[in-house]
């Protein structure tokens, strides 16, 4: 399931109008949609929020992928409904709450499916986050596919030696993961040592303020998007709180 969510959220290079936006603008759009999803308390608000997420997702040619991620999160949605019902909520309230949760997932996923990890790194640097933190964060994302490949190989190797991951009750199944996790952790530690050597060999930490090949600059399409997102977002938030 984790692999399926990763595949769903994985950035794919496209040249749509949304993909071409400055990452800061995409982040603002996601934050506004996230806020609207969070503020939605009735079906009308949920429907409006759904449409507002679906429009940029369609423009980015990523609606299907977004829906796949949402579908994978439905299990958690059901969990939200169950907890709310147990806590004394009505069925309608519980469903609205679950839909709200799925919309939060969709609004944040929109940012990740349309923004390359490189752009994300630029945004973090723009926020003046410490370089080491940004680099560690970016590297952890960069190595997700490598770790997934390692994980697949280890699972295959252990299965070929008789490991049965799907056997037994829940506790036994968790225990079954130990022979997979230990080699994975050892591999990762070895890899991190090699990474550190490679960083040193490429001058990491040579200057206090490293530069960037590309610099973030807002273009006309970014200003146009901002002129829609800022007033539109403010208006909708006001409507959500006081009117609808």
């Amino acid at each position: 399931m984790a692999k399926a969510i990763y595949e769903g959220l994985k950035f794919r290079y496209k040249t749509t109008v949304i993909h071409r936006l400055d990452p800061r603008v995409k982040m603002l759009l996601s934050i506004v949609l996230f806020a609207l999803a969070l503020l939605g308390f009735n079906f009308y608000q949920e429907i409006i929020t759904f449409v507002l997420v679906a429009v940029p997702a369609t423009l980015a040619k990523s609606l299907k992928r977004l829906m796949r991620v949402v579908a994978l999160s439905i299990t958690f949605g059901v969990f939200v409904v169950a907890i709310n019902l147990l806590a004394g909520g009505t069925v309608v309230e519980s469903i609205v709450l679950a839909v709200r949760f799925l919309e939060i997932v969709a609004s944040t996923s929109l940012f990740f499916v349309t923004t390359s990890p490189d752009e994300l790194e630029y945004v973090l640097r723009w926020f003046r986050m410490p370089r080491d933190f940004v680099f560690a964060f970016a590297t952890s994302i960069r190595f997700v596919p490598v770790l997934l490949m390692d994980l697949t190989q280890i699972i295959d190797a252990q299965k070929s030696r008789g490991l049965e991951l799907d056997r037994g009750g829940p506790i036994k199944r968790i225990r079954n993961l130990v022979p997979v996790l230990i080699p994975l952790i050892v591999n990762s530690l070895v890899r991190s040592g090699e990474l550190a050597e490679a960083m040193e060999s490429r001058g990491y930490g040579a200057v206090k303020k490293p530069t960037s090949m590309d610099v973030l600059r807002l273009k006309i399409n970014d200003w146009a998007a901002l002129s829609l997102i800022i007033p539109g977002g403010a208006l909708l938030i006001w409507l959500y709180i006081y009117v609808i």
């Binding site: 290079y13 040193e200 490429r202």
Partner: protein
Amino acid sequence: MRLVITRILVISLERVAVEFNDFSFTYAGSTKPAASHVTFTVGEGDVAVLAGLSGSGKSTILRAINGLIPHIYPGEYSGSVKVEGMTVQETPTYELAKKVGFLFQNPENQIFMFTVERDIAFGLENMGYDPKVIREKTDWAMDLLGIRDLAKRSPSELSDGQKQRVAIAGSLVMDPTILVLDEPTSLLDPHTALEVVRLTKELNKRLGLTVILVEHRLELVSTIASKIIVVKDGSIWIQGTPQEVLLSDGLEEVGLSLPPVVEVQRKLGLKSGGIALDVEDFVKEVPRLWR
């Protein structure tokens, strides 16, 4: 007499790129030295091949060239290592990074960024170069390695050979004078391995780079090497020209196999006047050797 003086002058004028002088190193927490009394030089523009069994100390020697030893790996250090006249012990790793390009065994572990061009630019960004200069140098490196069409691709989409090229470009973009390659072909298929070796020779010729290469398969590198250094148990077992090393006895003892073409000549007892290192030369030499 004049000839002798000229030769002496030429030898003394030949500049040394890397100089190991009685270098020994024992990693912290270990009692056995990983390198023991290692002494050798590599001239500017040479291709030196380091060979030997796994655990013989080759990686320790390489780490001593780019300063990981002693700056990152603590331990007992004696003797001296000089790179382009700089004493490694006294030079920070980022200064050495400008002179020494380092290529690790697994290129996957030295590609940090999400696109090829950003990864190549990584070293220059670390050095604080102006964005325009970074762009120019990155484009130059991509053109040199023939990977401009991969610029926007993610490293996870590349083949092993392409990853190796990206890693080399990431090293060369810093404009080093020395390129160190730690078993660059060990994870590659024979065809791609040969391609990487040819590329290394081409870079050596075109850019005048000094190359230090760790490789077990002597048949792959004996034709491009100007010097082979065989390491055993942390010490130098033999060093010399490919001809000298390949004609020495006992290479099998240190885990090295002879190139088939050399083995044939040795079995035929064809040692006088030197041996041919590749099949084409051997075929040309057959009539002379047979006489």
